[in-house]
Symmetry: C2
Subunit: 247 residues, 2 copies
């Protein structure tokens, strides 16, 4: 329905954000949150009506989601929610291991005392939060992201930082912490402690090796419990799952 710009009081006018960015964030969270099935069609008109905006900002949001790998868009066919194969997950973790290991090594050379202090504080807070059986998964995940982001920033290479952050924020990874058992969390925390120490002492090679192991360990957990959301089922209609895997 034509929302005549009068409905600003309707939803969330708090921020001075644009409608396009709001639609983008909403859709991104919803896709990550599992509202849609892989292969689902995202129709501009339907989404526009649902969010009480016009097709223009929806369209913009979809294009952005495509560039970040959440949906695929075909010239006249529209947007489909993109699926993740086991191979995709493996590739992402492997790439993260490579890039973040290098970043950790650089961070070990660049970090100042206060940088190390901040990292250490964060690591301790994570340990405190994980005292019990990890209740606040979202909060822990957020702290973990922050920990990695700080190290990436300390690498001094903004390109590395941006690429690695993108990889970290991919939808199918965001919620993977639910898969962590107690011992996994313990090992992860131990890795973090080692990273802080290695960075504090300027031991670049050690920092890189720890980071690599840290990420590959997470990959193993993810892989073990998350084997193949293959396109097998998923066909409410006929054959929609043409699979984007190039191979």
């Amino acid at each position: 329905m034509p929302a005549t710009s009068k409905n600003k009081a309707a939803a969330l006018p708090k921020r001075r954000e644009t409608a396009a960015s709001r639609v983008y964030e909403t859709l991104r969270d919803e896709i990550s949150g599992g509202r849609f099935r892989v292969g689902d069609r995202l129709t501009e008109g339907a989404l526009a009506e649902e969010m009480t905006v016009s097709r223009t900002p929806v369209r913009e949001a979809l294009r952005r989601l495509e560039s970040e790998g959440f949906v695929t868009i075909s010239p006249h066919a529209g947007a489909l929610v993109k699926g993740w194969s086991a191979q995709d997950a493996r590739d992402v973790f492997e790439t993260r291991a490579i890039i973040e290991a290098a970043a950790a090594g650089r961070a070990a050379r660049n970090a100042t005392a206060s940088d190390v202090q901040a990292l250490d504080d964060l690591a301790r807070r994570m340990e405190a939060a994980a005292g019990g059986p990890l209740q606040d998964v979202a909060g822990y995940s957020e702290m973990n992201r922050d920990f990695h982001a700080r190290i990436l920033h300390l690498s001094g290479n903004r390109r590395i930082e941006g690429i690695a952050l993108n990889l970290m924020d991919l939808g199918f990874l965001v919620r993977s912490y639910r898969l962590f058992g107690q011992e996994d969390v313990d090992r992860s925390l131990s890795d973090h402690r080692q990273l802080v120490t290695a960075i504090r002492d300027g031991e670049a090679d050690w920092a890189a090796a720890v980071m690599r192991a840290h990420i590959l360990a997470a990959a193993r957990i993810f892989k073990g419990t998350h084997d193949v959301p293959e396109p097998t089922g998923q066909s409410p209609l006929k054959k929609e799952s043409d699979k984007e895997n190039i191979t």
Copy 2:
């Protein structure tokens, strides 16, 4: 003026592309080609009129260019041609060195005999083309891109492949081969030979090391002759200075 889709006979009537993609490609080539100066304002309306389309496809093209790092867009201020500082260039080369070295190592493990054959053919063709003083810079550059792209593909990691290709295709790097002297070309070709050999023999570590050296050497050449100052922030009074930026 409503261009009633009849003017397709103007330039490229062959393809059935969308207007947005045409605008995107045109703008990308023009930015890479140096038509604009760093910091130039790209106004939607002006570009739309120039290309005889509406603002909508222009807008879409600009957003895409932003996501690929060619322009920066501020919420209500519009798009500016993005500049590359020496630090940016350094970051890109360093990141390429890290990622492509890893890719070369994986390629050494995955490559089949025919893969190696294809690489070797390409390397030989490049040597032949560089017999003289490198006349066809564009052609040579294209072959070089293909060489690297093949190795990236052989890594078996599509994520690595995509990231590295993006880094390779950044505007300010595309034409950097003009900076290569004869000895630089010779060393580059020698690197390629070594890469082919290392991959053929499955020597992952050697392949990775050669690739790393290969890219960092290129970085050094680029850096030496291309030391540019910062994009000077965005001076608000900065006026349009289009046309004529050869370099």
